[in-house]
Symmetry: C3
Subunit: 634 residues, 3 copies
């Protein structure tokens, strides 16, 4: 019961107070020994029935009554008796004079997280609507307060939208009974009202404050001390905050990641962290399945086809399940100009995009379209801080319980992308303490690459978890699987190189570097592992080892070329820009890292493009310190 002034200390002279219940008051708002204003609504032989509010009414027995009453007469009563079955009887209170005080219904809301202690009881919940799903039966509103989220089922008629005036993001007050459903508690809605004005603001502010607080990432010490990484740390923390907030607000998250070793080492920890946090926030074991999706991308950028499909699925989920549109999280992917068309397609929908990448970025092109962009080049660092290294820290900020599962992951990420980061030694040591020596980690990296190749567009969740040994409790299975896949990967590489090596051509360049070229369309197996990029990389590695000199390797197909280099100061993105301008009708595009990458062109202009490319490479400066320029993959 909420009144401006409560019974005993009623001010305003000596006149006693009689309380007038608002129509929405319930039994919970009345108290014993307190006089209420009542209205007669029925007369029977043994007494009169009175209403105190829409839902509070009862009998005044004729034995307690003086005089006669007509329907709609008012009188003052107090509670006589409440029976086990909830029936209430009242008795009249005789007062010469009194003043009336209004009583509002007590809408003190119950926390969504406390509902399981109120099974079968009527409660009030105040919150923001995060999803409205029309089923064939009731309409399900997901309502979020400062503690969590609860589904509220309102039934108008089978398949008919209840409370059509209420929309996602409205602030609502729900009165309903707490029920236990197969997979969680649920409110059976009695009434659901959109709040407005101050009422709404107050609730929204309360929830926003709580959200901000809850979204705050955990304060975790980085796994290794590393000055270069410190520069990015605060921005990664900001991404952790955005992702936690996204989860709290009930918006789905869709991860698009490069389907290679580093991309897996980046996305799998983030998946684990977000799934854990989603389950915690939504108290529903099926929520992670509905609110998170990880999708590998074959190309090192966001292809239009993927973006179109993502948008189409998102619109479908909104139409079918009333879900918000998702946040798209690009991992080991998303920093370059090639991502722009896809970003633009999503831009006018309510789809925030966040990119964490370590490919050479084009911030001028992508930043206007991104809600956050973390890339070591933006802090004068480079690819050596791999996305996997960043994302292990990101995952820990979101859900620190994972830490023990992740200590070996940055080392795998680093080896996958041949990172020559100063911190690699520390990462290797960290992994060693968990029982992984460098060969083990290298095998995991090869196994990831091989598995990802054959899984194609499937995230291969369980297989990849086993390979990476994250959240899996069978160490020996992990070891056997990695052994099988990495051994087979090596065999496949050997078979490929058996076919290809005799066809590799060698030219010494003017700048002193060796150039090796291979026609991967004609002199390597197609449509198998290793694909052209990996094949070129393996040839390159052998040549680097053979010569000990600066080496550039080009693997070309009908309309593409893969570029690898060691000891040469290339700037592939810059070369692509120049080639596109210089070769009319060449249709040159592409990019990647500075010194490794891939380009596409029009089939009929291959010779011209490659010749011109080689010319540019012959002019590049050599690098004194071979150690800083060569990651393996694009």
């Amino acid at each position: 019961m909420t009144t401006d002034s409560v019974g005993d200390d009623a001010g305003d002279g000596d006149v006693p107070v009689v309380y007038d219940l608002a129509p929405d008051c319930t039994v919970e708002d009345i108290e014993s020994d307190t006089p209420y204003l009542a209205t007669v609504n029925g007369i029977v032989e043994y007494g009169i029935f009175v209403d105190l509010s829409d839902s509070v009414s009862g009998l005044v027995h004729e034995s307690t009554l003086d005089g006669t009453y007509a329907v709609d007469d008012e009188l003052v009563v107090e509670v006589d008796n409440v029976r086990d079955d909830g029936d209430i009887s009242f008795e009249p209170v005789e007062l010469e004079d009194y003043r009336v005080e209004a009583v509002d219904h007590d809408y003190r809301p119950t926390a969504t997280t406390a509902l399981d202690t109120n099974l079968g009881e009527q409660v009030h919940v105040e919150g923001i609507v995060t999803q409205i799903k029309q089923t064939g039966g009731p309409t399900i509103f997901q309502v979020r307060d400062e503690h969590g989220v609860v589904p509220a089922a309102a039934f108008e008629a089978a398949g008919v939208r209840a409370y059509p005036e209420v929309a996602v993001d409205d602030v609502v007050r729900v009165t309903g009974v707490v029920e236990s459903r197969e997979d969680a508690v649920q409110l059976e809605v009695g009434s659901l009202t959109a709040l407005e004005g101050d009422d709404a603001s107050e609730v929204r502010d309360r929830i926003d404050d709580a959200t901000e607080e809850w979204a705050e990432p955990h304060d975790v010490e980085p796994l290794v001390e590393w000055d270069a990484f410190e520069k990015l740390r605060e921005d990664i923390r900001e991404v952790a905050r955005m992702l936690r907030k996204t989860v709290i607000e009930g918006r789905p998250i869709r991860v698009r990641h490069h389907a290679d070793g580093d991309g897996m080492c980046a996305s799998v920890p983030v998946q684990r962290a977000l799934e854990g946090f989603i389950a915690e926030v939504h108290q529903d074991p099926s929520a992670p399945r509905h609110l998170f999706k990880r999708l590998p991308s074959k190309a090192p950028f966001y292809e239009m086809e993927d973006a179109t499909r993502d948008l189409n699925f998102a619109l479908e989920d909104r139409a079918k399940h009333g879900q918000k549109l998702p946040l798209v999280l690009m991992l080991d992917n998303g920093s370059t100009e090639e991502d722009v068309p896809a970003y633009r397609t999503l831009a006018h929908y309510d789809i925030p995009i966040v990119a964490l990448d370590h490919h050479h970025p084009d911030p001028e092109a992508v930043d206007p379209l991104l809600d956050a962009h973390v890339n070591p080049y933006l802090y004068d660092e480079d690819y050596r801080i791999t996305t996997g290294m960043m994302c292990v820290e990101l995952a820990r900020m979101i859900y620190p319980d994972l830490t023990n599962d992740l200590r070996h992951v940055p080392a795998v990420a680093g080896l996958s992308d041949r990172s020559k980061a100063e911190a690699m030694d520390d990462y290797l040591e960290l992994a060693a303490a968990e029982g992984y020596d460098e060969d083990d980690l290298q095998d995991i990296s090869e196994a990831l690459d091989y598995g990802a190749h054959w899984l194609r567009y499937d995230s291969g969740r369980h297989l990849i978890d086993d390979v990476l040994n994250i959240g899996v409790d069978d160490e020996s299975r992990h070891r056997r699987l990695v052994d099988v896949l990495s051994t087979r990967a090596e065999e496949a590489v050997d078979e490929q190189l058996d076919a290809a090596m005799s066809h590799v051509e060698h030219d010494p360049l003017d700048n002193g570097a060796h150039l090796y070229t291979i026609d991967v369309e004609n002199h390597a197996h197609r449509f198998t592992y290793p694909a052209p990029g990996k094949t070129t990389g393996e040839i390159h590695d052998r040549k680097v080892e053979e010569t000990g000199d600066p080496v550039i390797t080009i693997g070309y197909g009908p309309d593409f070329a893969v570029l690898r280099s060691d000891g040469v100061r290339l700037d592939i993105p810059q070369m692509v820009t120049e080639l596109d301008e210089e070769i009319v009708g060449g249709g040159v595009s592409g990019g990647g890292h500075l010194v490794v990458g891939s380009i596409k062109f029009v089939k009929g202009r291959r010779e011209e493009v490659i010749d011109s490319l080689v010319e540019k490479m012959a002019e590049a400066d050599l690098d004194e310190d071979l150690s800083s320029t060569s990651p393996l993959t694009e």
Copy 2:
């Protein structure tokens, strides 16, 4: 209660009538103050129990009885009292003489559409079985009467087919209790009997009559007045009737449409109309999902792969859900000889096929295999009446409420296929009145084309609805999406033409037309937007504009060529027939419209095929009136 003569006016002399209830009579068949024949079935201290039928029985209290009775004795009784719990007591009626009249159970069926007012009550429904689905629990019969369809659940044992003697299309009488299920009402079957002979015919006739009446399309005025279109109108009306009847009879509909702008403008309105009508007929919000499917086809004909899959899915749905096999509706697709193998595969199943197309038809080949075929060429009109224009009218005949959503669609369809129809001005005006100027419509057309390209085999329902702005309430989102997609489409075309234009070759033909050829395999980007057809079209358009003369453009790949022409009287289908005969081992096939189309051939015969094709083109007459010959796409 149905008797030949009712109580009061019993004829046949003065002897009073006593009614003898048939065994299947229920309480609903008995009336007060009416004598019934009863049989003693039990004797207790306080009276005797009597049966009036299998389910009507009750007590005759000993206080009302004269004499003694043995089990199986007959006596005449009338109702004494019916208690709240349904128990009936009778009292004996003393009659010197009487004659017996049989009473049949009153099977007056309840309309399927009136069941929701009979929740919890026992009713009878008479109808035709349209689907029999065996679940893990009960067997679900969909029963259709002259008003609608209702599911009837019969339980024999878990997963066991109830009433195995009843098949789809049988006429049945169902007695059951009306229940409310999550998504609709349902009958809990007490008994289900296949009717035969006259009983069946009578019901079937009644339903057939109602079906004919219900299937009658709405009488809508065409959106624009247009003589050419009037010729087709009655046949489109006939298709509307067939589709409505198909829906009423519970047969699923599977639309296969060309995945381009006109195909979308045709299929999306029809989808909306049929989904609306299905929901209306089946009173089940999930029915449209089960009974309708829209599938884009990349090729401009019904590929064997698609037909095989469609058949396989249909057989699976029949096996799993007891559904009828579907009707296949071909839109902007299906008129040519290339469709014949697919049609033949479906022909011997119960799968009606209907085609609405405006590609140059081969009625001799396809008509024997089609249940209906509408194509402007069959009425001496041509491609200028686009499928989208026809289908907007078709959709309105099926479900006229859509009209306001569709006024701009024919204009988009016309622009997509470069229709030079006389009605285009009226269509543009109609769209203008809805706020779309010609640039807007052109942008929608480009956006449709671009979206369809990346969606590939996905119908992309929500994305396409947003692009076409059908049934969507967010005008500004529609505009932004169209802007993004059409802008990106234009950029992509520009990038493609940047690569390709310098490789276009020019030859003046003997007939005065310019011939432009481009090797799209070697001088254009592959596997991206725009694909070879669109690339060729865009080059063609630029050349037409540049020269102002008759122009033919050929874009060729290893084993295909795309043909575009303006101002030349080509007959591509005829050329294909000739080439196939003349070039041994050329394997030439293809077709499309008269003056635009595409052909396929064997890779090793490309030069010969193209040379021969150019020769034929050089002989073609020029067209005085450029305006009537050139649609954009095949």
Copy 3:
């Protein structure tokens, strides 16, 4: 009730026995007129309440009591009365002296197959856990005893794993109430305990014995008498036993089969047989869907991509549904070295692999990785015993009821692979008796091939069933479908040969055979039916017929060649080995049958590979008896 010595014949002197119930005893353990030790747990006005065990308690009325009792006092009682509502009253038994005998709860288990006669009752089941599925609500344990399998639902909290200490393969005792679920009976778990030591061994032994017995294949006479086949019969029987045992133990089965005629004739009967047996064992109509999957493979070996996907799906099913990992059954596939990488990938998981194949095997390579391997070459027989012939017998051993559906299938299998087996005449006769003449069977074979081509990776269950006429009751639909598909297949072959025949090149070889070569990339339609293998085969057949001489035909593409031969003693697997060694950078691999097969190589080495291959073929011996060397497909 189980006691060491029962009431009447209680030994040990004349002292009467009083029984002391163990805490887990239930009402079912007590008998009338038998004295039990009871403990007072409550005192009320009208008597005392006593406990006999945790769940057995009741009132002793004060009228029957002498003296007074305090809580926790012991007394001896016997049953006075059991009321309808289950309440029990006791009366005291006065005994001067007695001895106490312990009574254990009677855990006599109920057979899982007898549960449906115990609906609503509490029962005990003892068995092995075969699956543990965590739902959003309860945890579902599949428990298998010597009779069958029953699901047991245990609820700890929504989505929380109940009895986390229990794992798959544990022996458990379940006490629960039998309930009827939508699709079967289910136990509502009261308690579930993992048994250990002797208790567990006893149950496990009992179940193992029953499993062995149940797994025993049926004793069926082969459809035709055939000495060559007799050699394999016992090993096929062993495979039948393994598969039946796999079903009984609740392990899923995943069939990978060659997607051609013989592969279909092999896999479809086995599918039918296993589905029938699964339904019988698991008493759940949805079990076959969860425990069996048939997947066609385009390549004639187990591709890494397929194996990776199979493993990923298996891990997902284990994680989502708690299923065991599957047994993989390779049919018409799986005998060669090319299968090894895939086998190795699965080897370290608990995934048994069984292969039935008739391609030329490499037992040294595959046998160490297989749990069973049946191939006619292992018994000095050859490809003429087709996989379809073997699998029809295998299917009959598993589920003999199918026999009548399968009599025509071996003949189709034989024709599909051009088997010249001596038994072919008998098989044709057998089919003739069912109404299929040789043309019919040939048409079925063509239709299968054509259907499989377009279905690609879809098993096309219902379509293929209709084509093969297995388990389908519409003979005329079968005939029409076969007619349509085989006619269209022939047309497509004709179209292909129209394009190709004029490009076939002829060279006489030194050994007297004719060599025909065709460039199928440049002189045949691509990406359509017939594919290169079938195209080459059809050309070959025409040439064999034309010449009547020994013929070798090679159809080559950019990086592959298909080989067909008649009348020449080739050993293709041997040639592949030699080519791979001799041609550096050729990357040659492949295989198939001895005299028909296909090879792959690196595009840039095609000329060298084909030349070298032709040289080897020119040296091969001719075969006097043309009839024994030529199956159609690889």
